[in-house]
């Protein structure tokens, strides 16, 4: 008796099933990575440690009240002017003698900051302040530091600080990474992010 050949299985609907699964995964999954402003919190300190004494002129005071108004150095200010004001303060370079700043391009006002190493930005917010406003202020202050770092990096090494950091993270970068890291550290030390946040007031 001759063996009957088995009938072929109809695979026409296989594609439909696969499509169904494909569309399910397309819809339910997210591919984007998060991004945001990175910050480092100060470690907890003992109660009895004396706070360091900082000269009044080296402090840039930014206060945000419960109505989301901005008070910068005791004057009302719009958010759009904050970055320029912060840059002017950090870049002032009003110090003399050992406290002089060699790379600042600011006005050199003796009543403003001595040099960027000493300059501290102090941010005070109310407990009722909206988070969106707080982020906007943080964004402008970080933007001011980035602007100055980019300027110094451009002058010293011919490319922006953001580009240097991107190169450092890029695994295909062909240049010397050790040297690049030193340069990044140098720029960071020139413009240290000294952003102090006080406990919110009521």
């Amino acid at each position: 008796m001759a063996r009957r050949s088995t009938p072929e299985v109809n695979a026409g609907s296989l594609a439909d099933i696969a499509f169904l699964l494909l569309i399910f995964f397309l819809v339910t999954t997210t591919i984007e990575t998060d991004s945001g402003i990175s910050r480092k919190l100060p470690p907890m300190q003992d109660e009895n440690v004396e706070p360091p004494i900082i000269k009044e002129k080296n402090i840039f005071k930014v206060i945000v009240n419960r109505n989301n108004d901005l008070l910068v150095e005791d004057e009302l200010m719009e958010l759009k002017d904050l970055r320029d004001a912060a840059v002017a303060f950090l870049d002032n370079g009003g110090g003399v003698g050992p406290e002089a700043c060699t790379y600042c391009e600011g006005a050199g006002d003796p009543t403003s900051s001595d040099n960027p190493i000493k300059a501290v930005i102090m941010l005070v917010n109310d407990r009722q302040t909206e988070y969106g406003t707080y982020i906007a202020v943080q964004n402008e202050l970080v933007g001011a530091y980035n602007e100055l770092r980019n300027r110094s990096a451009q002058r010293l090494y011919g490319k922006s600080f953001a580009q240097m950091e991107a190169d450092y993270d890029n695994i295909n970068y062909t240049g010397n990474k050790e040297a690049l890291k030193e340069r990044i550290e140098e720029i960071r030390d020139m413009w240290p992010q000294k952003l102090s946040e006080a406990d919110p007031k009521n």
């Binding site: 696969a18 494909l22 982020i135 980035n146």
Partner: protein
């Protein structure tokens, strides 16, 4: 000549689609491997603020997420409209954050613990009081690396 005439009347041969499932499966596997499932179900409103000085948050396995905001519409009945914190899948109190951080650290390899980052996904209408409380707890737990997760865009949009 009959031999040649025979072909003339026949229809177009059907296109062979037997390779179609292979192609679709290939795509399917790509998406299955390349994407990650949403891990937590949001119970709070989470409209993030805008910022443009942002850094990318790579290495998703080294990130702990803390959500905060007003409870979503269907939870407002039982939880009210005051802003709350969400850890994993549940509402939580500020005092539970330290425990959460320690628990998260337990699940990571020891040499990776110093690189852990806490991502704060906070609704733009939340009051800073709550955010300050969260930050205070994080300082107590010595989880000092934080990232305010934002949407990329001009910061002035936060005032609208």
């Amino acid at each position: 000549m009959a031999k040649f005439n025979k072909k003339k009347g026949s229809e177009l041969p059907a296109i062979n689609t037997s390779a179609l499932p292979d192609i679709v499966f290939m795509l399917l596997f790509f998406f299955m491997v390349a994407t990650t499932m949403r891990e937590t179900t949001l119970k709070v409103q989470n409209v993030l603020p805008y910022a443009d000085q942002v850094e990318k948050l790579d290495k998703k396995d080294l990130v702990m997420y803390i959500y905060a905001g007003k409870p979503s519409a269907r939870y407002q009945q039982s939880f009210g409209t005051e802003s709350r914190i969400q850890l994993n899948d549940n509402f939580a109190e500020v005092s539970e954050i330290q425990q959460f951080i320690y628990a998260e650290r337990e699940t990571k390899r020891e040499e990776l613990v110093p690189f852990l980052t806490t991502a704060l996904k906070v609704d733009h209408e939340t009051n800073m009081g709550l955010v300050s409380d969260i930050k205070m707890e994080l300082r107590k737990a010595e989880a000092l690396k934080i990232n305010y997760t934002t949407r990329t865009g001009d910061a002035s949009q936060n005032f609208d």
